[in-house]
């Protein structure tokens, strides 16, 4: 069970007609390091044409650039980060990040860690984990470049987060996933449903650990760049039924998630998740979870 025909027919069953989508490069201005208007003006003086992303506070699409936006002084000085538009959404779903203790459970290469620090204005603490040591170097470089001051990085599997003996106010689960065809032109040739199920299993294990280390009034934001419901709606339905979590209403770009996946009826609250089909952005899925209040 693989190949373009197989996956595309699944998307159609979920209500989306396949279309080729060109990935648009986007940046996010690190507002703690610079004023948006100043950075935009400086980039425009370098003949880099920007277009404000309507559904993001700090995001801009690159409409035109004569050279790489990853090689300007402004980039190297940490005034902005290169971050795809949909990938900028999950961190914005948290409420009240200032002074919080935040876990970024699968942090490398660090785009969202930097975004967290930016929204936290370098207050509180971010604990950033990644299981691959090689990727920690890229993460550390991002933190240095973007002047992040409130993060501690560990070489650790997210499934072992309870070893830290910390309870977190906010947890970002930007979990390892199967990805999507927009960011990988060879995606349909590489992926099988077996890969998807393997990733879904890993994601459930990470969700389970996150629920253990979340404070009672804490928030988890779960996100994937996978379009496969096993990694998205079905995992969240499982988390609602097995981890005493509930799905919070969110307001962001994207469509309400479906509560009927291939004939299986899911918990109604799963519709609070957002599914982002590729169009202006890559494919994405995001939701916010909280612990269910105890009833006496």
């Amino acid at each position: 069970m693989s190949g373009k025909e197989f996956f595309v027919s699944r998307y159609e069953e979920l209500g989306w007609k396949y279309e080729d989508v060109e990935q648009k490069q986007a940046i996010r201005i690190n507002s703690v390091n610079a004023r948006k208007a100043d950075v935009a003006k400086r980039l425009e003086s370098l003949w880099i044409e920007l277009e404000k992303i309507p559904f993001l506070e700090d995001g801009y699409w690159i409409r035109k650039s004569e050279f790489s936006v990853g090689a300007t002084s402004e980039y190297l000085l940490g005034l902005y980060s290169i971050q795809e538009a949909a990938a900028q959404i999950p961190v914005t779903l948290f409420t009240g990040l200032k002074d919080k203790i935040v876990l970024d459970a699968c942090a490398a290469p660090g785009g969202k860690t930097v975004q967290l620090a930016d929204l936290m204005q370098n207050t509180g603490v971010i604990i950033a984990l990644d299981v691959k040591k090689r990727r920690l170097i890229a993460l550390s470089n991002q933190l240095e470049r973007c002047r992040v001051r409130n993060a501690i990085v560990y070489h650790m599997d997210a499934r072992q987060a309870s070893q830290l003996k910390i309870k977190f106010d906010r947890i970002l689960l930007d979990v390892p996933c199967s990805g999507n065809f927009v960011t990988d032109k060879d995606w349909f040739n590489k992926r099988t449903i077996k890969d998807v199920k393997k990733n879904a299993k890993l994601q459930r294990e990470i969700l389970t650990e996150a629920a253990k280390v979340l404070k009672d009034d804490g928030e988890i934001v779960y996100a994937t760049c996978s379009l496969e419901p096993e990694e998205d709606e079905l995992n969240i339905d499982w988390a609602v039924k097995n981890l005493n979590l509930q799905v919070e209403k969110i307001s962001c770009y994207g469509e309400k998630a479906s509560t009927n996946i291939f004939g299986k009826q899911l918990d109604n609250s799963v519709e609070n998740c957002r599914r982002i089909w590729p169009r202006q952005t890559q494919g994405f899925f995001a939701c916010k979870l909280k612990k269910r209040a105890c009833t006496q």
């Binding site: 990853g70 090689a71 002084s73 190297l76 000085l77 203790i101 509180g124 603490v125 604990i127 040591k133 920690l136 170097i137 890229a138 993460l139 550390s140 470089n141 933190l143 240095e144 470049r145 002047r147 001051r149 409130n150 993060a151 501690i152 990085v153 560990y154 070489h155 830290l164 910390i166």
Partner: protein, 153 residues
């Protein structure tokens, strides 16, 4: 700590780092704050503000540390836009691109290199006084922020 202070003084500056908040991990130094110090455990990989590393007895500053020094009274050379670009590509500084000099102009001293916006691009070693009417290299590039790109290769 001594190596950090020695490096800072070569740039004609003084900064007060709380030694209780500076931690060393192998050959790398990090500056924590109280919140980080409370939560950190010894097996961390990176934390707080990376200050730099020692290698073969020599101290290599981070760009965070250079930025901290740039906020203080220190040796600084401000350069124009074209020179900024050449400097972050690893080139040495010529006199023509220099807009302003603050602090030491003495041969052999270290100086920070800043752009027109006052942002620190790196540092170098003064080869000859920028006041002297002479063609050629004035500051030898030791480290610049283009290193973030070179590291990835």
């Amino acid at each position: 700590m001594r190596q950090i202070n020695d490096f800072v003084s070569r740039l004609g500056a003084r900064i007060n780092l709380d030694k209780n908040l500076v931690v060393k991990k192998q050959n790398r130094y990090f500056l924590l704050n109280k919140n980080l110090k409370r939560l950190i455990s010894k097996d961390f990989f990176y934390a707080g503000v990376y200050l730099g590393k020692t290698k073969s007895g020599r101290f290599f500053p981070s760009f965070n540390l250079l930025r901290m020094i740039a906020e203080e009274k220190s040796n600084k050379i401000i350069v124009d836009g074209k020179t900024e670009w050449l400097f972050i590509c690893g080139r040495d500084l010529f006199k023509q691109g220099i807009i302003n000099v603050r602090g030491s102009k003495g041969k052999g001293d270290h100086t920070l290199i800043l752009n027109r916006h006052g942002e620190c691009l790196g540092f170098g070693k003064i080869l000859c006084s920028p006041d002297r009417e002479k063609e050629g290299v004035v500051v030898k590039n030791i480290s610049d922020i283009g290193d973030f790109l070179r590291r990835e290769k």
